[in-house]
């Protein structure tokens, strides 16, 4: 088994970032900071794992950020509305969680159905639904903020801040989803089919694979994971507005690409995506902790990393061809 430097590239970059962070600021390795970085990575991370499947199958979903805002909005509205009848208890919160997840299923199904049944380009479909979800949540909030009832917020808070020791629930959820995602991509029939479809959907069709159904499933899976991210996100601030989840879709796609998944599909690396997510949030964190470079340049540095990651992947391809 030879070691592939290009596949390990993102991992090496991640290790380098950790060393750099530790060197620049002693607070970097403090448990509180690590918890903070990982927990904040969890939202994008959950979405990015789902995005890995969508992209690997040759699709794309630009709507996830807006979808998250919309799902957070309707979950909050549902909980607030249920509160007088169900009372201040976990039952009410479970209703909100259910609304977020079920809403994710439906939103993912909508995207997937438009792509596979109406045969519209994924870019166009999700550009449209991105706009729709964003507009809906802004309308629901009437241009302002949808806030969760104060009592419910207090009750719900531990889902984001609590956990086992310093390992909070978002970190645990992200870890479990990442492991399941990696396993599914590598070792399950579904993962193999997803890769085959992204590699060449005609070959997949001629191999008796239900291409449309599989594609649809990747969008539904992504919807569910967006719903799960929302379940963990709502207790953090207890509110949603028209500016919730802005640019999450690009961060998720960037993480997938940095992780070595091909944007044209056919080759998915879930663990790479996890590394990509961590790289992106570490850059943000290090810039905030160290005053070496202005945090306002965060976007520029992330941009350079994305381009660099793709260049490295391309070099790999030409090296293989020789």
């Amino acid at each position: 088994m030879k070691i592939d430097l290009h596949t390990l590239g993102p991992l090496v970059a991640l290790v380098a970032l950790v060393i750099l962070g530790a060197a620049l600021n002693s607070a970097f390795l403090a448990p509180a900071n690590i918890t903070n970085v990982l927990a904040r990575s969890a939202f994008i991370g959950l979405i990015a794992v789902g995005m890995t499947f969508v992209i690997t199958a040759g699709g794309l979903d630009l709507s996830v950020g807006s979808m998250a805002a919309f799902l957070a909005g309707i979950a909050i509205i549902a909980m607030n509305a249920a509160l007088p009848t169900t009372g201040l208890n976990w039952g009410t919160i479970l209703i909100g969680m259910g609304v977020a997840i079920l809403g994710g299923v439906l939103a993912g199904y909508l995207n997937g159905a438009l792509v596979t049944k109406a045969r519209i380009e994924p870019f166009i479909v999700t550009l449209g639904t991105m706009s729709i979800f964003r507009s809906l949540v802004t309308w629901l909030a009437d241009g302002g903020t949808l806030s969760l009832d104060y009592g419910l917020r207090t009750l719900y808070r531990p889902v984001y801040y609590g956990g086992i020791g310093w390992i909070t629930w978002p970190i645990i959820t992200f870890a479990i989803v990442a492991i399941l995602g990696e396993w599914t991509m590598r070792h399950s029939r579904f993962g193999r089919h997803v890769e085959a479809i992204g590699s060449n959907d005609r070959v997949a069709r001629y191999s008796a694979i239900d291409v449309n159904r599989m594609r649809l499933l990747t969008y539904v899976l992504l919807g569910v994971l967006v719903g799960l991210a929302v379940v963990l996100y709502v207790p953090r601030l207890g509110s949603a507005s028209g500016s919730t989840g802005v640019l999450w879709e690009l961060e998720a796609i960037a993480a997938v690409i940095i992780g070595g998944t091909a944007l044209k599909g056919g080759r998915g690396r879930v663990w790479g995506t996890v590394v990509g997510v961590l790289i992106l949030s570490l850059i943000d964190n290090i810039l905030n902790l160290a005053d070496l470079v202005s945090p306002y340049l965060n976007g520029a540095i992330q941009g350079v990393i994305i381009v660099l990651a793709v260049v490295l992947q391309r070099e790999k391809r030409t090296a293989e061809e020789r």
């Binding site: 070792h187 399950s188 193999r192 085959a196 070959v203 069709r205 001629y206 191999s207 694979i209 056919g266």
Partner: protein, 494 residues
């Protein structure tokens, strides 16, 4: 007066020498056929002549003078044009824009009228009716090839290197191609013609060079070498009989098709396939052969009555076909058959993954299946984890056959079993097909190569314009009678 020649040319890739001291001379007004099995070094020679590769040792002589081409375009500037098997045309541009691509007439403002007129003149010279304003994507494959030839002519080609130009053409279109080649020959163009079809080599070539393992093993003039002689020279051993002996099909029907219709492609086709039979389907491209097969296995919506082993089955998807014991090997190996960027194992098991574990795929069982398949079908791969696209055409085809055979189907439809593969592998595939029939399986073989249909099949159905035009068996299976049925010739010219 040799135009272009190789003088004692060798070529190595790393430590491996693939061409050993090759001499080759192209004369103006002569068709020079280059034949050899896959891997014999044909494409390396073409690439060296076309300026895409440098020889490791030896010389390229242009008009007797040593030359060095830094790139393909540089060779093209000297009048050496290669027509690749995969066309080099921008499918969204017009014919005229393609012909003049990179050498547009006009300065800042393109002179569309001049380019169109020049293209029209070229196309007229080639005796085709292609509209210079048509987009390439709207043209048929043979028309695209004509555009490639027109493009070559517009570059004042003195040497034309053609890589299996007839592989994508039907019988009638091949006739048009030969006419163009005759015309170019008469105009004094030197043509290097690579082909796997020995009958056309015998027909076209003024001079034949046979290549084996990177060496020239035989050079002959027209008429000096029979098709059998060519095959023997290529393979390096005596070919007893190119096709395996035919078997004795049983009497029980394995597959009965009644009134199969694929909307706007195939109309009301009925036939019976007997157990242990190899049934050939011939016809021109576009006659509905592939569509018939795809309709039968659920890849296209179809209506009609299908019985397998006497039991009526409803096939609406490829899954249904598998369940009924049918399998289909596509004609489009690279775009519908194999995932070229995936490994051998992933390709082999793709259509039958449910046999390799439930939720968790059993890679060990997959590896074992690959082990069996490589042995049974003699798939030669340097490495197991190499992408399927890096295999030679013949080994790709064997891998595809192994993939199709994995569900253990009783009825196998094979569309173009030997397209673009070398003689040695062809024989192997023919032997596999016969062996499958001898095991009691029933096969349908669709092919554009008439000799293949005749040599392989027990019985031939001929299709024309989506319908069954006729059936031939035994001594009645001749090229002439197939062509007549396929073209609907009853006296008048088709």
């Amino acid at each position: 007066m040799t135009v272009l020649a190789l003088d004692n040319v060798s070529k190595s890739f790393g430590p491996i020498e693939v061409l050993h001291g090759v001499d080759l001379a192209l004369e103006p007004g002569e068709v020079h056929a280059l034949i050899g099995e896959n891997g014999a070094g044909k494409s390396t020679i073409m690439k060296i002549l076309g300026g895409f590769l440098d020889p490791t040792s030896g010389q390229i002589l242009l008009d007797g003078e040593p030359v060095h081409f830094a790139s393909g375009p540089e060779a093209e500037a000297q009048g050496i044009v290669v027509i690749h098997q995969e066309f080099n045309l921008a499918s969204d541009l017009t014919v005229a824009a393609n012909v003049f691509l990179g050498r547009e007439i006009g300065g800042w403002r393109l002179d569309h009228a001049a380019m169109r007129d020049a293209t029209a003149a070229l196309l007229k010279r080639l005796d085709t009716r292609i509209d210079p304003d048509a987009r390439i994507r709207d043209l048929s494959v043979p028309d695209r090839q004509m555009v490639e030839i027109a493009k070559a002519l517009s570059r004042k080609a003195r040497v034309l290197i053609m890589d299996e130009p007839s592989a994508v053409l039907t019988h009638r279109e091949v006739g048009a191609l030969y006419a163009q080649i005759d015309r170019l020959r008469a105009e004094g163009v030197a043509i290097l013609y690579c082909s796997h079809r020995l009958d056309e080599v015998a027909y076209l070539a003024d001079r034949i060079t046979v290549l084996r393992d990177g060496r020239v093993v035989r050079q002959a003039l027209r008429g000096e070498l029979t098709e059998d002689g060519m095959a023997t020279a290529m393979v390096g051993r005596e070919l007893q009989d190119f096709y395996p002996p035919k078997g004795q099909p049983g009497d029980q029907p394995a597959l009965e098709v009644r009134g199969l219709t694929v909307p706007s492609r195939v109309r009301d086709v009925s036939f019976t396939l007997r157990r242990g039979e190899v049934l050939g389907i011939a016809g021109l491209v576009g006659s509905g052969r592939t569509e018939l097969a795809e309709g039968l296995v659920g890849l296209r919506p179809s209506t009609g009555n299908i019985r397998v082993e006497g039991r009526e089955v409803a096939i609406r998807s490829l899954r249904d076909a598998f369940a009924a014991g049918l399998a289909y090997l596509t004609e489009d190996r690279k775009e519908a058959g194999l995932l070229l960027d995936k490994g051998l194992r992933e390709n082999l098991t793709l259509a039958t993954l449910e046999r390799f574990g439930g939720w968790r795929l059993d890679t060990r069982a997959e590896d074992a299946a690959l082990e069996r398949a490589t042995r049974e079908f003699d798939i030669r791969a340097p490495r197991r984890d190499m992408p399927a696209g890096k295999l030679s055409g013949g080994n790709q085809q064997k891998l595809l056959l192994a993939k199709v055979m994995l569900p253990d189907p009783g009825i196998i439809l094979i569309d173009e079993p030997t397209r673009g593969i070398d003689v040695g592998t062809k024989r192997q595939i023919y032997a596999f097909i016969r062996k499958l029939a001898a095991e009691g399986r029933s096969l349908i073989v669709i092919s554009s190569e008439m000799t293949e249909v005749i040599g392989l099949a027990d019985r031939v159905l001929v299709m024309r314009e989506g319908r069954l035009a006729g059936e031939l068996a035994g001594a009645d299976m001749t090229e002439d009678s197939i062509v007549r049925l396929a073209m609907g010739v009853t006296g008048e010219a088709a």
